[in-house]
Symmetry: D2
Subunit: 348 residues, 4 copies
């Protein structure tokens, strides 16, 4: 008998993508989809692409409507999931796609978010390398509260952790510049996200160290072994609905050979299903991972500049959000980690 | 009486944009447009948007067809302009939109281009700061051979030179990641430049220190006063036909205040017509400069990361190519530097 | 001494484009820009691309702030300009970019708009052919109240009127399908206009005869000589910020030769500056007219289907809105009709 | 034991999409992928998104390399599949994604294609209504030679056939205008398909009755019961990599009620898995069907214009090409028709 699932915040982009993937999962059954202003509508009127779930209606988000499911996925605005999650039974698997339970340091939460802090949950990035050995996957087995990482965080963390753990790049003075699609910002009505503003244009935001994903990246890199990491992080909105292409760079540890640098990444992900390191000289495009739970990357060594350059491509709504949730869910429930998750991108 | 102008390589994007701007210039008259495979066609069949020049036919590119003009603009593939330019009289103003005459160091040319080196010309970036004081503008007055900078080079150089000359950023370990439109790659038929490949995708290229624009950037920064500059430079194609959004970062010189950093940029460009530094906390989009000869930038200080972050937006075909040529032409001929050049972008 | 101009509703796309073009007009001086929710801000904070007008602040829209100018351009939501215009002196030239004064038939207004009707003004489409002979241009000389046409209306009207007046196509059973950029819908915050919704997608709207531009098209075709015209009209939003590509078709009048059909269009626009009929077998793209006041079109005869097919490209914000206003303004004030208006598109 | 499959022409877009879908099909195993100029490369170097098939190398296209498979999919340029198919055994299931075997009328082939005619195969559009009763599905059971329809043809045929068969629209004087992504034109290197040409622009092609898909549409409508159908057909390239949004219109048969018109479409597709008629007043976007084998449509009655308007959205590479092939394959092999085919689109 399949596990029953409810998705809260189903009318947004993250909630919609969770539903798309959940409905194709062989061991799960979506029973409930909740919303706030759209409650009462048919799900398919809000997400016309979700034909598989045409029978679902959106009900009001509350502890009552979410009760009685094996799995609850929270796709709510930041600050909204903490109180709601506290009302759900401990043995229900709850996955939070929002930021509320990601940060382990309350001071970071207060500085970058500022609403009430609700503590941290098991962090849903299975491939995250732990200092020395081990991976985050182990912390997810049997977990019942999982914080799904931020999409930009996933791209940057996966791109840097191998070099950090292997000691081939320096943890201070990292840089990351990301070309990102607007769907990561959600279905929110702001002028900056209008099609007329973004079509034919590239637009930076949160420039100069103020983006909320920065403390989460540094937290992950510390897990991978970085002492006092620092990162210059700049996202740029570009005219594609989905996708993140992260260009991350790090100073090479002096004396490291180019082969040793590449080996750090190749070795780190050799056994991973969803992280794919390309052959030398090749780099990914976001189209290569569109709709897939794949993080694809290429690693270069720029000896003149003294930096390693890693290009990481993910689909922000899949490996960056809803796919990561299902991957973690599979682990938490003891299922095959790859169940219900696409490997292949949709290109062109 | 207007100066007569010929454009060689008129069927490409750079040539087309040069023609668009030249035809609107009050002191110039386009008499001749040349091409190779398209010779014999009407210009408007190759560039249907150039209604102002509907009377022109494309003639074969040669020293003979280019002879007899006051100004010759060369918009030819790299390696093609050196020999042709040598056949033109010394008193003709020749502007090369290609790379052939940009690099002052033959070893750099050989490493990054590899064809025959033809020496360097006066460098067409009027706003380029010279170490100590002075600007490149002075070197252009009366010049008759001008090498127009590469488009990425213009964005990165303008973004870094003020901090270099003011001594508020360190010249080593610079980084630049650029979101760029494909028109900068020209009208060349390669699979990577097909619409199906780029629509909905972000695609890096020339990753890891191999892009031909790197030595030109370093050459400029040395002019601005940098000793042994190094830069990690990564361009990413994004789905917009035109535009460059450069994210450039540099380590802050220890002890420098945030105000001193911003002042370096504000002061450097306070008197410039075509470089516009936005107020603190604001950053440009490429749409803001579409079709304009404007470089717009925002400067941030990321104290946590210890880096200055400068975002620069230009239109690669205008301030990055054809507009820069006309601005330099105006200076060389003693005209008002702003003549015939748009300030305002075409947004949305 | 230049004419002084005020633009009401300056923070929207139509208002912004009017300002861009007005600021480049040699006989006009923009003195005032008004807004509602953005009043009090600097214009350049709302339209960062308008560097030429950096000195302007947005003031509140009212009869008082608009008083004392020679020309007032109203770029207000439908229904808002009628009352305001009534407060402006009769000798001020008022151009309404909205729909309020376009329709001559009150019943049409009531059916498609429904708010209070304010009567009709001189219709600002100079090239509109009048039945028999003559053009709308004559009605604009000396006018002081001008209703600027809808953008889709301009494309469809220009594409059909020549065949109507020449009697080579039938006025009943016309069809029009338009690929349109979202900027025509204005800077309004609706989910359908979000970048995430439109990027990578084509989305129809107002399907089945309910679009407000339909009665205006039929009104124009009646002016051109059509008896009881009918049209099936379908706009489709596509992922480009600007531009309209209209595919209009009409049944051929039996016995008409293909040459006679093409001649109708070629002859109608032979003397027009801003309407350009391409040679046989060629058709325009919207990029060809981006930023220009040009309507470019191609005419084909499909003998098998028994229909003429006309493809019309315009920039919805220029020839479709702000450029049309300035063209009409030039005529109304007795200036050269082409003053301050670009012919050439911005491609690629 | 799964059926073994070979794909010829694997390096193009149609071939790549066939491989993406085939690799996810539970009853099929892709054994061979062939190419011409790319033979010898790894498949994943040509299609980096196809991680599931990373083990495959591209071999030369020939009867020898295609031999020994249960199923052969031909994704070759028009004119190339006829001779090759003749060399394959009769009991192998051959699906031709190209045009070579679609047309039943040799004169049509000669007029629109002109190369050698190879006769017609079972036509792979299962939902095609036959005059009176029955559907094309019946002709596909057990078939071993299947001609997969053209992508534009599928959209237009599905949009018109219900009204034709039900007698509520007239078969003469049909119109179709399509917004199409460039991937339908294949991975061919032509200037018109460059990203710089298409980004930010809408571009018509094959205007005026010359498109090769026209006779195929008329052939289908005749199957559905149309006597002497005629259609004005205009495709417009728009800046999205995939997708077709077809606006098709037809004159209403006098005296038909709006309800009767809508019922014709609702009834025709009530039992179809992959054709979805939206509720009254709703119309599809291409994003709703991205990556899915779904044709989604909305039907409107424009009483003023006397026309039915049907909007059809498909993914040109899925329901328009590779998905249609697999759907037909499922029928031909006696499998569940929906096996391996996605219902849900990838939005946003």
């Amino acid at each position: 008998m399949p596990y029953s699932v409810a998705v809260a915040g189903a009318s947004g982009y993250a909630g919609g993508e969770a539903l798309r993937l959940l409905s194709a999962h062989p061991e799960l059954e979506v029973r409930t989809a909740t919303a706030h202003s759209n409650a009462g509508q048919r799900l398919i009127d809000v997400h016309p692409h979700l034909r598989s779930l045409a029978a679902l209606d959106l009900v009001e988000t509350s502890a009552a409507t979410l009760a009685g499911h094996d799995v609850v996925v929270l796709a709510l605005p930041h600050g909204a999931s903490g109180a709601l999650a506290a009302e759900l039974p401990d043995d229900v698997l709850v996955l939070d796609l929002g930021a509320d339970h990601r940060l382990t340091n309350e001071a970071d939460w207060n500085r970058f978010y500022g609403s009430e802090w609700h503590g941290s949950w098991a962090y849903g990035l299975p491939e995250l390398l732990h200092s020395g050995s081990g991976r985050q996957r182990d912390a997810l087995a049997g977990a019942r509260r999982i914080a799904v990482p931020g999409c930009n965080v996933t791209a940057v963390t996966l791109g840097l952790a191998p070099g950090i753990r292997a000691g081939v790049i320096e943890p201070g003075d990292l840089t990351a510049a990301l070309a990102v699609g607007p769907s990561g910002a959600g279905r929110s009505l702001t002028t900056e996200l209008l099609a007329s503003e973004l079509l034919g244009s590239a637009a930076p935001y949160a420039v100069g160290g103020v983006h909320r994903h920065i403390p989460e990246i540094l937290q992950n890199l510390a897990v991978a072994g970085a002492e006092s990491p620092t990162i210059s992080f700049t996202p740029v909105l570009v005219p594609m609905s989905r996708g993140i292409l992260a260009t991350v760079t790090a100073r090479l540890v002096p004396g490291t050979s180019a082969a040793a640098v590449r080996d750090a990444w190749v070795d780190a992900y050799a056994t991973e299903h969803f992280v794919h390191v390309l052959p030398e000289g090749r780099f990914p495009r976001t189209a290569d991972v569109l709709g897939a739970n794949t993080a694809m990357m290429g690693v270069a060594v720029d000896a003149d500049a003294g930096r390693a350059v890693v290009i990481v491509a993910i689909d922000n709504l899949v490996k960056g959000t809803a796919g990561a949730a299902i991957q973690s869910l599979n682990i938490a429930l003891g299922l095959d980690e790859t169940l219900g998750l696409p490997f292949d991108g949709l290109a062109p």
